[in-house]
Structure formats: structure tokens, C-alpha cells
């Protein structure tokens, strides 16, 4: 260091010390964890949309009736005891003691029933629960019942759904809000309190420890067990630029990055003070529009599968070998209990001749195929790889660049391509949004669904209905295998690869829970 640098450093250090003396001592005494989230929190209501950032906010403020551990096993969370009738159609749940919302009111069975009713109008599993004829009854302040008209093997899986739209419990007065209107008052019974007065959208979200939260006695595992909060305050600092967030972590200004942009992994790998945590895998998804030619024919959809080189897609996005599955044939992700390679054999390696043949059999006439290409998305390079591969197979590709908001609006259109319609868009789903035939959106959508892409395969619908009603684990798994085999034939969507998002921390301990891919802040401590 030169003399000049030393002088400047001393001067600024002195100014900093003076500044610290001027600031409040209380604020600095509290243990604060600063986290750079992947996205900015906009919607507070976790039962309003499926944005991951809103889900993560939900886990801070609200609690769930049941929760899944790191292996996907269901454990009670707000529930103390529960019973199930022999035929699996009558369920009774009793809440544990000392549950209370942060407005001081106790959590009651009526709050739970109202929350389930609102959730079941929006969530896929909730809708399936209602389709099985579910009715709810409040027995007393702490007990409620669910009665089913049909067999439904996923009651606990639904109540413990970890992602997409988890069933968070809110007070009855808020849960009675129309599901198409977001709740803005944050009254939960979770481990943290949301500081709305300190919320600056686009910049900062603040949570403080909920002093009235009573964690379960069991050790924490995944989303289950005791949610013991060891820090006083958590701040989500939204840093839109990946370079800046990596620099801020190295500089000690933040303690954690929720998901490191792949380009910056080599930089952080070289910093001994930074700990990189590889989470559960996410799945890249290509969604063809099954309503319009050429993808209203399954042969044309199969042609896409024949051009997919997963490694090429993942490399283009920036995921090195350490952070991806080299080849994953399972639509349920390769690390899930349902993982299987059934039906994948014809597509293991790209084969452009087979793609051309399938395309010819589909009756493709060379019409334009519009790919909606969001340039402001972390996975946008995957669109370029897809366009190039499809062109090589004989598709007449029209890659239309736009922002994600435009993709989100355009993909809802069912019109022909020349009237603003589309043929393909790319997206990705987290582990919990791909790992079963019920949670994977494009695998779970029945004929007549309203999901962009509008896949429809009646054979798949029948298999899924059998799977939903099945209570036996082995039979259930065998049905999941059949579902995937069928899905590789009818192709409701195409996988473009499996990658493992990386969380970076500095100076934090007990961060293992985050391996589930959700940045839960309970049990985390600061050195």
C-alpha cells in the first residue's frame, strides 16, 4: 500500500468511526442478516401468485399446517395430532398450543379452514382436493375436519405443499378476501414479523424476530421441525446487478446471495470467506403451444425433444459441470423420489435425422414457428440454443426478442401466430415445482386447462387420476413411471436441462436448511 493510500484509508476509517458514533447504538447491537434475494418482493400475499420471492416472504411471516423435511417426508407443523379414517376419506386435525398471530389473536380452526378454502381456489393441489369432493368443518377452536367424496392420496402432500403456492395460514378475516385481490395486511403466525413501515419496494424488505412464536421441539429438517430464530433482524437488500451483489458479498456488506448468477461463481469460488451451498435441482422447461400448428401434433413436439442437447443449453446459461446434471431424463427431476428414465431412451442424445423424420410425419409445411425470447431473464441464452437447434432440424424459426412482461402477456393469447399468437416459450421450475405429476405444472394440467401451452392428453389425464387416488406407495410410484412414459409420447412440454442454483453465504452458520432451495432464515446464525 502506498503512503497516499494509507492516508486516504486512515482518513476514511476515521470518518466511518465518527459516523458510527453518530448512529444509533441499538441498531448496531442487534444481529442482522442481510440477504440479496433473486428478485424484488412486490406481492405480499403468498396466496395470490406463484412467484418464488412471494413464497419466500410467506415462509418468513406465516406458518403451515404440515411441512416436508429434506427428504420430502411430511411432518406436522402447526398441527399437533391428526387422524385418518380407514378409507382415507375422513380427516381430523388438532392444532398445537400457543399458536398466535402477530396481532395477538390466537390461531383457530376457523382460520385454518378459511385459509384452506381460499388456497384451494387458486392452487393446483387445492383444486384437485376440491375436485375430490372435499368439505371442511370446524369442530372447536383447535380442531377441524376434512371429508372427501372420492379417493385422494395426496391430502397431506397438499397441506404440506412446499412451493408453487404453499398453504399458509392467515386470520379468517383476511382469508375471506377474494382470491383475485391480494391481501396487503401482513398478519401471520410465522417466525418473523414483516416491517411494512421499513419496506422500500425495489430496495429493501425488513423482518424482525417474532417474540411470540413458539417453535416445535423437534430439530429443524427441510421445512419441518423447530423454526428457532437466532437472529434479531433479516434484511432483504435487492441488488439488481449481479456484479454488484458479488462485490457486496466479498466486501462484507451483505451476508448472503440467494442465487448466484452463474457467471460469478468462479469469482466467489476463489474467496475463502465465502461458502457456496448447492441447492436442489431446478428444471428447464420448453413449453410448446399445443393449440396451434405445428405443435398441435405430438410428432412435432417430439421433434423438439430430438434436438435437445441438455449440456449445450446448460453451458450457454453458464452452469458449469459442478452445478448441473449432465443429463437428466426424469421429468420429476433426477434427485426426487420419483426419478425415473422411463420413456426417455429415444431422446438421450440429439438426433437431427430423427427430428426431421418426426417433423415430416407431423405434416409440418414450413410455417413460421414463433419463439418468445425474454432478454431480461437469466436463462435467456437457452432460447438462442433452442432456436439454432430447431433451425438445424428444419423448423422455420422466428425468434422474437422482448421483455419478460411481454412474454407473460403474449403467452396467454390463443390467437394464430399472424394475429399475435406464439408457438414456444422457455421457463424453469424449482425442484418442488417439478418433482411430482401433481406439482409439475405442465405435467399436471388436464385437458381443458387454462395454462399457457394448453396441453391436452386424455390418456395422461386417466393415468394422473389413478395416481391421485392411489394410497399405496409402490403402486403410486409405478403409476408415476407410466405417466412419464406417456408424457414422452404426447410431450406436454420438453425439458432443456437440470441445474443447481447456488446460494453464497459469508459469516453465517447453520445454513444447511437452505439446501432445499428456499432461503429459510430460521436456525441460521451469524459468527
Amino acid at each position: 500500500m502506498t503512503m497516499k493510500n494509507a492516508c486516504v484509508k486512515t482518513l476514511i476509517a476515521g470518518m466511518t468511526a465518527a459516523g458510527l458514533l453518530l448512529t444509533s447504538g441499538v441498531a448496531w447491537a442487534a444481529t442482522t442478516v442481510r440477504l440479496a434475494p433473486t428478485a424484488d418482493l412486490k406481492t405480499l400475499d403468498p396466496l395470490f401468485n406463484t412467484a418464488y420471492i412471494t413464497r419466500n416472504h410467506g415462509y418468513m411471516v406465516f406458518d403451515t399446517l404440515f411441512a416436508q423435511d429434506s427428504e420430502g417426508k411430511v411432518h406436522p407443523q402447526m398441527v399437533d395430532t391428526w387422524t385418518k379414517s380407514d378409507d382415507g376419506k375422513q380427516w381430523s386435525f388438532t392444532l398445537r398450543d400457543k399458536l398466535q398471530f402477530n396481532d395477538g389473536t390466537p390461531v383457530t380452526a376457523a382460520d385454518c379452514v378459511a385459509s384452506i378454502e381460499r388456497w384451494s381456489k387458486k392452487d393446483t393441489l387445492g383444486r384437485l382436493l376440491m375436485k375430490a369432493g372435499a368439505t371442511f368443518k370446524v369442530v372447536d377452536d383447535k380442531t377441524f375436519e376434512i371429508s372427501l367424496e372420492q379417493d385422494f392420496g395426496l391430502v397431506l402432500a397438499a397441506l404440506s405443499k412446499p412451493s408453487g403456492m404453499p398453504l399458509f395460514i392467515m386470520p379468517k378475516r383476511l382469508a375471506e378476501t377474494d382470491p383475485s385481490v391480494p391481501v396487503t395486511e401482513m398478519v401471520g403466525s410465522g417466525p418473523f414479523l414483516f416491517k411494512k413501515d421499513e419496506w422500500v419496494p425495489g430496495n429493501k424488505v425488513v423482518y424482525v424476530k417474532n417474540p411470540n412464536y413458539t417453535p416445535r421441539a423437534e430439530p429443524a429438517d427441510g421445512l419441518a421441525g423447530g423454526k428457532v430464530v437466532k437472529v434479531d433482524r433479516v434484511e432483504w437488500i435487492y441488488i439488481p446487478d449481479a456484479n454488484t451483489s458479488a462485490a457486496a458479498l466479498q466486501n462484507g456488506e451483505i451476508d448472503m446471495i440467494e442465487s448466484v448468477t452463474p457467471d460469478f461463481l468462479p469469482v466467489l469460488e476463489g474467496n475463502s470467506e465465502v461458502n457456496l451451498i448447492t441447492g436442489v435441482a431446478s428444471q428447464g422447461m420448453i413449453v410448446p403451444n399445443s393449440l396451434l400448428p405445428p405443435f398441435n401434433n405430438s410428432k412435432a413436439r417430439q421433434a423438439i425433444y430430438h434436438v435437445i442437447d441438455q449440456a449445450a443449453f446448460l453451458s450457454a446459461v453458464g452452469y458449469g459441470e459442478k452445478y448441473r446434471t449432465e443429463y437428466c431424463p426424469s421429468m420429476y427431476t433426477c434427485s426426487s423420489p420419483l426419478a425415473t428414465d422411463a420413456g426417455a431412451a429415444p431422446y438421450k442424445t440429439p438426433d437431427f435425422e430423427k427430428a426431421k423424420q418426426a417433423l415430416k410425419e407431423s405434416g409440418y409445411q414450413g410455417e413460421k414457428v414463433v419463439i418468445l425470447y425474454p432478454t431480461d431473464n437469466v436463462n435467456s441464452p437457452a432460447n438462442l440454443v433452442l432456436a439454432q437447434a430447431m433451425q438445424k432440424a428444419g423448423f422455420n424459426v422466428d425468434l422474437q426478442a422482448m421483455d419478460w412482461a411481454s412474454v407473460a402477456a403474449r403467452r396467454l393469447k390463443k390467437d394464430p401466430v399472424d394475429k399475435g399468437g406464439w408457438n414456444i416459450f422457455l421457463t424453469h421450475g424449482g425442484y418442488f415445482d417439478a418433482n411430482t405429476p401433481a406439482t409439475n405444472p405442465w405435467l399436471s394440467a388436464p385437458c381443458g386447462n387454462g395454462l399457457p401451452g394448453w396441453p391436452c392428453d386424455e390418456e395422461l389425464d386417466k393415468l394422473r387420476a389413478q395416481w391421485l387416488a392411489e394410497n399405496d406407495e409402490a403402486k403410486s410410484k409405478a403409476l408415476a413411471v407410466k405417466i412419464q412414459e406417456r408424457a414422452y409420447e404426447s410431450v406436454p412440454y420438453v425439458m432443456w436441462g437440470e441445474f443447481k442454483p447456488v446460494i453464497a453465504t459469508r459469516g453465517l452458520t447453520h445454513t444447511d436448511l437452505m439446501k432445499i432451495g428456499i432461503p429459510v432464515m430460521w436456525n441460521v446464525d451469524k459468527k
Binding site: K9, G19, S180, S245, A405, S406
Partner: protein
């Protein structure tokens, strides 16, 4: 009617045109705020329900009249993405934006006017060439590159200053300035370069005027000659400063993004990406009003430097 009042009244039709233009521009874009809000796995029906709850299913003219009526009552509406009042969002962002704008301009003026004047006084000398070389470089290098460079050296390597964020003055004056230093320097260099070149050109022109030659012939000292020239060259410099302030208040997106500063620029870009119409409309309307006001102040300031304008 006094001049100031006439100018203020003249801003009303300007603001009406701006309001109509801003509203149409926001609504003519391809995206759909309801689709963004609904999330990735939303169905068409989900999105339609949300659109209806936002009032976006109503005719455009009806939406404009509702918005215009609310604006006249001082209500800029509610953000479709955060459900917070637009005025609250703008208020949250005003502090960082004003701080950056004022300190950047202050930094630029304090350095650029003397540098530009010296360059004009020593026109053709090595000093002049060095100053011009520096200003060309500062003007040519992209702001984000300067920002990354400064952050790398002063934050990551030397650990002297924060990489990102903004601290309000209430959190301590030193922290406030520490967070402003790098963004203001990286942004100020561009404005400094612009002002230096403008000052040099106008002072050089003034130095060639007859009255300067007369003043020199009468034996006036160099310092006073320069002062006379600078005063006469002030109007174009003040105009550049005024435009600079207006542009900075309108938001400096790149700098705000690089240093993660929650200013009006990022609020606007974020709103555009999410098609948050009330925020887009509110911010642009206020930015336009500020622009008009600053232009008015610049026009009024001309009279301070040039008494002939009063005639």
C-alpha cells in the same frame, strides 16, 4: 400579467399534453401488468380475474378519465405490483435521487467551471490539451465501466467505501456521504466533462469580444478580465447545468443499478418492466413537471447574468 406568472400558466397545457402522452404511451405497450402479477404458472382465467380487479378491462378512455380525475385531486393512484400509493413510492425514492443529483452537479460545477476557464485562458497550451484530453476520456468511457472500476478499487480491493446502497442523512452524515461518493464521482465525471467543454468554448468566445480587448487595453488585470468573460459566458453554462439537474432528477438508471441505489430511475425502469401503469404515469408526470420548473428557473436566472434580458 407578471412574467413569472405567465410562464407558470403556460406550463398547464404542457402538463396536460404530457399527461395524455404518458398515459397512451404506457397503455400502448405490449405487456400486461395482470399477467406479470399472476406469476409463472397462472392460468388465463386467473389473469383475467386480476385484470378485472385492477380495472384494466374497462375502456381506455374511462381509465384515462378516472386517472386524470384522481391526478387533479393529488392522487397518482396505487401501484399495480406493490399495492402501495404511487406518491409513497416516489417519496421513498426522492431522497436518493435528489442527493445524487445535487452532489453530482455540485462536484461537476466546482471542478468543471474552473477547469474550463483555465483551458480557455491557456487555449492551445499543454494545460488546455491535457484538460480537453481528460474531458474527452471522461465523456467517452461508459458510466457503468467507471462505476465498476471505482467499486473494484475503492471497495473490493481497498475496502474503503461501500459497493452499494444508500443511507439517508438520518443514519449518520458520514455514512450518508460514504454511500454517495462513488456514484457521484462516476456520474459526475460525465457532467464534468460536458461542462468543462461548454465553459471552455463559451469563455473562449467571450475572450475574443471587443469589450475584453478594450478592458485589456485599459490595463485591467488578468483575473478581472476572466471574471468579465465568465460572467458574459454564464448563460449557456447555466443552461447546461439546468438540463443536467433535470436529467439527473429524472433518474440515472445505470448508476442506480450499478450501485443498487433506490432512486427514481430504477423505480421507472422497474415499473416499465412490470407494466405498472400508475407508477410509470406518476413518475413521468412528476419528472416532466420538474423539468418544466427547472427550465423556468434557468430562464429566470438569465436575467441575473444578462441585464439586457429585462428590456
Amino acid at each position: 400579467m407578471p412574467y413569472v406568472l405567465r410562464r407558470l400558466v403556460a406550463t398547464i397545457p404542457v402538463m396536460v399534453v404530457v399527461a395524455v402522452f404518458v398515459f397512451l404511451l404506457a397503455h400502448m405497450s405490449q405487456g400486461d401488468p395482470a399477467a406479470v402479477l399472476a406469476g409463472d404458472n397462472a392460468t388465463v382465467e386467473d389473469v383475467e380475474k386480476i385484470r378485472a380487479s385492477m380495472g384494466l378491462d374497462k375502456p381506455l378512455i374511462e381509465q384515462f378519465l378516472v386517472w386524470g380525475g384522481n391526478v387533479l385531486q393529488g392522487d397518482l393512484g396505487i401501484s399495480t405490483s406493490t399495492n402501495l400509493p404511487v406518491l409513497t413510492l416516489i417519496h421513498q425514492r426522492m431522497g436518493p435521487t435528489l442527493s445524487i443529483a445535487l452532489f453530482t452537479i455540485l462536484l461537476a460545477v466546482l471542478l468543471a467551471v474552473p477547469l474550463g476557464t483555465v483551458a480557455a485562458w491557456r487555449a492551445g497550451s499543454l494545460t488546455d490539451r491535457l484538460i480537453m484530453l481528460g474531458s474527452v476520456l471522461a465523456f467517452s468511457v461508459p458510466v457503468f465501466l467507471i462505476g465498476y472500476g471505482l467499486a473494484y478499487v475503492f471497495s473490493v480491493k481497498m475496502n474503503l467505501l461501500p459497493v452499494q446502497g444508500y443511507k439517508p442523512m438520518s443514519g449518520g452524515i458520514v455514512e450518508y456521504f460514504r454511500h454517495l461518493l462513488l456514484p457521484c464521482i462516476s456520474l459526475g465525471l460525465v457532467y464534468m466533462a460536458l461542462l468543462t467543454r461548454m465553459t471552455r468554448a463559451t469563455v473562449l468566445e467571450a475572450l475574443g469580444e471587443d469589450y475584453i480587448r478594450t478592458a485589456r487595453a485599459k490595463g485591467l488585470g488578468s483575473g478581472l478580465v476572466i471574471w468579465h468573460a465568465l460572467k458574459n459566458a454564464a448563460n449557456p453554462i447555466v443552461t447546461t447545468i439546468g438540463v443536467g439537474i433535470a436529467m439527473l432528477i429524472g433518474g440515472v438508471v445505470v448508476t442506480e443499478t450499478v450501485f443498487a441505489i433506490p432512486g427514481l430511475g430504477r423505480l421507472t425502469v422497474d415499473a416499465v418492466l412490470r407494466h405498472d401503469y400508475p407508477v410509470i404515469q406518476g413518475v413521468l408526470l412528476i419528472a416532466s413537471a420538474v423539468y418544466v420548473l427547472i427550465n423556468l428557473l434557468v430562464d429566470l436566472s438569465y436575467r441575473l447574468f444578462d441585464p439586457r434580458m429585462d428590456r
